[in-house]
Symmetry: D2
Subunit: 271 residues, 4 copies
């Protein structure tokens, strides 16, 4: 940790972006436990991301401000232990889990149906890819953390927990950085009529995220300037699959976008 902080000082780092591979982790919930684990150098308990955030907090305290963007599923902006630490340390936390690919699209389509009083019967969403992220997900433990991240959107957006199967499905090496997503939504429109949507996509995984990270780096600087330490829901709600803090829910991305613009001092585009 000390070594990292030292290096960062030399570099004059401002915004840290965490895009390491999905980890198996357990949230801390309490700052005391987190600090205890760090002090004991408890390698069983801590993941790389958790250590990095701790180091970033330490750095931010000394440097007078920094931002950490957690683009992976490990709960950071949703872990009260880290949010508390960040507030005390001049650290901005954006997280958790960069919202690319199928999940935000599913979110907006479910909102679309909810607004028309469609009753969603069930949702199935598959995705398969060929990069390291998908390879890691074949590991049961890690897949579980991913699964946890995503399943709340259905309830958050529809207002009821429509039966759903939404999880990364497999690894297929020749797809490389592309992923194939398939979605099936069955819903009741009016008077019992049942409609169906089937949505397929072939999406380049890394560029989808990279575009968002460029935005998030800029927003990190804005947050430092505004001294909004801790975590920033209006940013997380648009960019993250699991927007922190813990007590906040998913909202339709299209609306989150306007909130994020307003937070950043921009005019809303349509509202």
């Amino acid at each position: 940790v000390e070594k990292l902080v030292g290096e960062w000082k030399e570099l004059g780092a401002e915004v840290f972006i965490n895009v390491c591979t999905t980890e198996a982790f357990v949230p801390f919930e309490s700052k005391e436990e987190l600090i205890k684990a760090i002090e004991e150098d408890n390698k069983e308990r801590l993941t790389a991301t958790q250590v990095y955030v701790y180091a970033a907090a330490k750095y931010a305290k000394e440097a007078g401000g920094a931002a950490f963007v957690n683009a992976i599923p490990t709960l950071i902006a949703n872990d009260p232990a880290f949010v508390e630490l960040a507030k005390e340390s001049n650290l901005v936390l954006f997280g958790d889990d960069g919202a690319t690919g199928a999940t935000p699209l599913t979110a907006d389509i479910l909102s679309h149906l909810a607004q028309r009083n469609r009753y969603v019967k069930d949702v199935a969403q598959f995705n398969i890819g060929g990069n390291n992220d998908f390879l890691a997900l074949t590991d049961k433990e890690r897949n579980k953390s991913k699964e946890f991240t995503k399943s709340s959107i259905v309830k958050d957006l529809l207002g009821y927990d429509a039966p759903h199967y939404i999880k990364p499905t497999g690894f297929l090496e020749p797809l490389g950085d592309k992923k194939f997503i398939a979605m099936h939504i069955e819903y009741v429109s009016f008077n019992g009529a049942v409609d169906e949507l089937m949505i397929d996509g072939r999406i380049n995984d890394s560029p989808a995220l990279a575009g968002l990270l460029v935005d998030l780096a800029r927003l990190g600087k804005i947050a430092i300037e505004k001294k909004e330490f801790g975590t920033v829901y209006p940013v997380n709600a648009f960019y993250m699959k699991n927007p922190g803090p813990k007590e906040m829910q998913n909202i339709p991305r299209i609306i989150a976008y306007e909130k994020m613009r307003m937070w950043a001092g921009l005019k809303p585009r349509w509202f």
Copy 2:
């Protein structure tokens, strides 16, 4: 016209809903020309819908208030002649063309992409059905009026006119009231990477509209009570493919929904 007005008086009608089959029409633009055509009983110039709205305005003036919901493509809420007439006559106009099926879904998906800075290369949207509405569209003239209604959403939502092919495509009798829609969207995500979405749906046409009409009837009563005569953009923006008045654009439906709720005195759901 007199006869209609008389009948409506006996019934104490409040909200008129127009769902007749797509017509070939020409907007009036000026109230004087409209009245001239009515006085001359110019059957070449006037469509059934245009006559009905005129009668509804006459009725509303005498009854002290009424609402007319135009759920078909004939431009009414987008025709300044009718909006002016409605304002003077205590008539609420909702229109034009009830937004069911593929168009509002396309709208929300395009907004979704725009918000992530995806550059849309092209959009193809097909739809085919087996009811009278699709049969009528095989008639060139009528199809043209439909086509006109829909093509503005791409530019309104993306901010540039991405090449697109969006129109009712054919009639296939055994589909009956169901319609099949297919959509292909090709876009650039980041660093030149090209992604693709392919969306298919099988949708019951009439129930999709019926649910909206129930809402619109209630909103019509609210507008009469609020004495908002003329046309009401916050309602049209959510419910109509071509929201009047003429000078107003399409906005993402998910945002229009919140504006409509706020107009109706309800709390926004997510904003």
Copy 3:
């Protein structure tokens, strides 16, 4: 076993159809081991299906002929132990695993591409349903037996083992007897050009099988009359996901259909 044989004698049964839920099983390979397990009443080693086939063989020997249709993944027509037993016992065996839904369609589409010299880069096929069959597949052991059945088609039809992910993916209760299938095939056409197919289906699971079982019952009677005891490849190749005997491969269903017609004494339809 004795009791079953007795009951069947009273009924004068001719064709047995096995549609029980997917089992965890191990093939026997040798007739001696099979008979030993039966004699020892080894309930750990034997599945319900394996016992039923043994009983059917016993019955067939006494009755002078019978047929057993194995519509589930347990290897019977692909287990040399059972094929040998059937030949000695006047039993016709059709199997294994009734080919409904996505697998035969995938088979024909892969054949279609192979015939045009398309080089298939990868195949992903998902399916999800809400009936007991899908529920059983959430059990790891059982899913494994299903997986084994299906994966050979890619190599059999393309001539090389294109990377693929083809397995039942999940259980979603409200789908009931319907299943949703999604398929993504990426292939090289000519001069390096890469094409993609995305195929979605919503299929009623039981009726798809029921139609085939009616055919198979009739074909069972034909086989008894022809005294073709053991297993019948021309029937299996069209109707079964894993056509027995063990040493035989999958061929395109469209061709298998003609072979099956010719075996049954019918004129080929197109050949």
Copy 4:
């Protein structure tokens, strides 16, 4: 004509491949009328393709043998006038309309359903592209000739004329040489259960054809060697949308492939 024949002689041409843009044409049916039009140099009556075939026949007669591959919709191998002329002139005719993209896939999928006794309720197939071929199809006359070519497969393969909408749908410039195809098939499986397939594809148009043309050039040489002048159904049935001669029908491509192999002296792959 004389000039063309002269040039070809110098080149020692053997196989002609016609891939010009879709034309508006009328078949001749009688050789006399064809020759009359040529002699009168009737430019109103003759298309470029028709003149080329006439020239190729003339050349073949002098050279002792040649082949003409008609990869566009103009009826040549289906026009008895040209087939008669070809027979007398040592000319091999393959045609008409190279089967790439959606049509042969639809053919195999319909065969797949027919073999399982599925009753097809309706078929919708759309396709849109951005190359000159699609641009030409926006011309009403030319689109009509394309439409004529394709619609027979449904009846040929199913045995009844299931209602269908199968035609090139539009032009969308940024797609370039790619085309997007979408297909919806609704069918009854058993006991009234209705299933649906939705198939989307993004296909490179020219490479799909180019691969076939390489094959056809080789097959043309084989036919010349075998002295099979006139038209060759086993080749046409696999490679052409509208396989000549006129009186022959479409058969499933997967079976046509085996027939073609056998005609060419190769072992069938699966039969």
